[in-house]
Amino acid sequence: MNRMARYATWITLALLGAAAFIMALRFGWGRGPQIGSAPLPAALSAGVVIVSVLGLLVPERGEVLPPDWRPFGAVVGGVVIFILSVEALGLVPATVLCMAVAYLGQSERRYAGFLTYAVCFAAGVWVVFTQGLGLPVPAFGG
């Protein structure tokens, strides 16, 4: 698992580097002593490919940890919910929904108390950011 994960990481990086390099070839290369927009991204992406190949060839020490899916899914889900709801539903519902989904990342289950806290926090967020700092998002509604 460890070795496979390592290979997968370096191969992904190498592929990303190669894709970036191919795209960079289409940028301008410049004329005479004027450097265009291509050389630096091309050099950087070529560097990523070379380092990734070295990473694949030369063994490394250290442990690779697999993702901890529960907190990962809850936190990512919370942010996705925020993105989907902040303009459609408003700041307060988006905040509460984001917090509720993120809360699922840990093992304790005290929903009633947490939701009360989340609603209070959302109200505070609206006061500070919308009323105080002028963030153009209404409390409710798009």
Binding site: L40, L44, V51, V79, A122
Partner: protein, 505 residues
């Protein structure tokens, strides 16, 4: 002297004083939360400063920085959960002291050592920056190119993890920074037809994702450990023996901080580590280190805070950050329309000296506030993490959203958060990525200007003695970093070859 008066008159403006106080308190409060380091704290607070005057905004962010460094030690001592790598050293003797019922003393020593180290760092910053600025005014593209390259090499070589991984991260950070329209020839790089990418990626979602969100995901599982502690003012007072023991380590630590703070790639972590190692070496009872020695806290904490202050020397005088945190500070300065470098000190003395004087005030505030407020920070530590982390996620989302009032930046922050998390689990450090992201545009600009000035001759970049020396340093450091693992293996083999005098297997 007139610069100091100018700085004081700027720093003592009510708005700047308030910003400094707010920054120090917010920074300490965020730094206290385990797993959230100074970088995440600055990234979190950065959007709040957008509406402020540049000087006020930077004063606040600087307060957040040293406040978070201080706050991180509280979690280290009480919970054995460091907020930053430099605070990890404080755990070694701070946590055993807390277990022995001396948490208050440990926290008091941390406060005093932080103040002493920070103050010595500010003196060095005040004296050294104008000298460097005088030299740096004459720097051209060749010198800047070489210095940025040195920063890259140092970050790759000195980082604790695999050199290849650090190099890969710098290169990826550099690639990410090239996204957007190229101002020289107007071509679009990696924009994929998205209008939001034309202006390039903003620092805030990148930093918030890499350091804020990914740290939250990592700490959800183990952030819930809490130990009930109650600290009274009386329990914080050190004994006469404690006072005697902490004096010299603090001064030595501050010295290390002043040396390592301005050097690229080192910063507070290396300073704290060196200070701890030195204290252990000079001690008559080295075996007691790790069991609650006062010197094991005083030295590293002083060095840590001295390094935090002196890290501003290259950042402000050359515009080149030595550490990832300073890279965020540079980004913050640029967001506020301030270009760091020698011209900043010459053209905007009120901002520069105001900032330096605000460091003094901030350090004084840390000292005055944190001794009576320690029970508040301890109470903050007792707030269940299951309530704290969802709140922080919301603040990160709103901070990203506020950049251009668009969910695109929140999505970008999420993307970098996921990237940061995955890379950390794979043993990659995200800090070099940020250094690459911030410094590559400067590297490209100086490369282009230098290439033009040298009429396409690459030797132009080694044409001045300063540039040539720095390039040689790059090669030497790079060579050492690449050869290091092989040398270590050879030394280990040679040690294994030595016959065992005892004759045992």
């Amino acid at each position: 002297m007139e610069n100091i008066i100018l700085g004081l008159s700027t720093a003592l403006l009510p708005m700047n004083l308030l910003a400094c106080l707010g920054g120090v308190i917010l920074g300490t409060a965020i730094g206290v939360i385990p797993g959230i380091g100074a970088m995440a704290a600055i990234a979190l607070i950065l959007p709040l400063t957008f509406s402020l005057d540049p000087t006020t905004g930077i004063v606040m962010l600087a307060g957040v920085y040293y406040g978070a460094e201080y706050g991180g030690s509280t979690a280290s001592i009480l919970l054995n959960l460091p907020g930053t790598p430099s605070n990890a050293i404080t755990c070694l003797d701070g946590y055993p002291m807390a277990q022995q019922g001396r948490a208050g003393v440990a926290l008091f020593i941390t406060t005093i050592a932080s103040f002493v180290g920070g103050s010595i760092g500010i003196v060095v910053l005040t004296l050294l920056t104008p000298v460097i600025v005088d030299v740096a005014v004459a720097f051209g593209p060749a010198e800047y190119f070489a210095l940025i390259l040195l920063c890259f090499v140092a970050v790759s070589a000195i980082g604790a993890l695999d050199v290849r991984k650090n190099i890969a991260m710098i290169l990826i950070g550099g690639l990410v920074s090239t996204v957007g329209i190229d101002l020289y020839d107007g071509s679009y790089r990696y924009t994929f037809g998205r209008d939001e990418l034309i202006d390039g990626l903003s620092l805030v979602p990148v930093a918030m994702g890499l350091f804020g969100l990914s740290e939250i995901i990592l700490s959800v599982r183990n952030g819930g450990t809490r130990a009930k502690q109650s600290i009274t003012l009386r329990s914080m007072l050190p004994t006469r023996e404690d006072w005697r023991r902490m004096g010299l380590p603090m001064l030595r630590g501050a010295g290390f901080g002043c040396i390592f703070g301005p050097l690229p790639g080192t910063g507070p972590s290396v300073a704290a580590l060196t200070s701890y190692a030195t204290e252990r070496r000079v001690s008559k009872e080295p075996h007691e280190f790790g069991q609650g020695r006062v010197e094991g806290i005083a030295g590293p904490e002083a060095s840590n805070n001295a390094a935090v202050q002196t890290a501003f020397i290259p950042t402000l005088s050359l515009g080149i950050p030595g550490t990832p945190t300073m890279a965020i500070m540079i980004g913050a300065l640029m967001i506020h329309g301030v270009v760091p470098g020698p011209m900043l000190v010459q053209n905007e003395p009120a901002l520069f000296w105001g900032l330096v004087m605000s460091f003094w005030i901030g350090n004084l505030l840390l000292l005055v506030l944190n001794i009576p407020l320690i029970s508040v920070w301890v109470a903050l530590l007792n707030i269940p993490y299951r309530l704290l982390y969802p709140s922080i996620i919301v603040l990160i989302c709103i901070g990203s959203y506020s950049i251009s009032n668009s969910t695109f930046d929140v999505g970008l922050m999420l993307g970098f958060g996921v990237l940061g998390y995955v890379l950390r689990r794979q043993g990659f450090a995200p800090a070099p990525l940020l250094i690459g992201f911030v410094l590559t545009p400067m590297l490209e600009e100086n490369l282009r200007r230098g290439w033009l000035m040298g009429r396409g001759d690459p030797l132009y970049f080694a044409s001045s003695p300063m540039a040539a020396i720095v390039l040689l340093m790059c090669f030497a450091l790079g060579g050492l970093a690449l050869a290091g693992p092989a040398l270590r293996r050879r030394r280990a083999r040679r040690l294994n070859d030595i016959p065992n005098p005892g004759g045992h297997a």
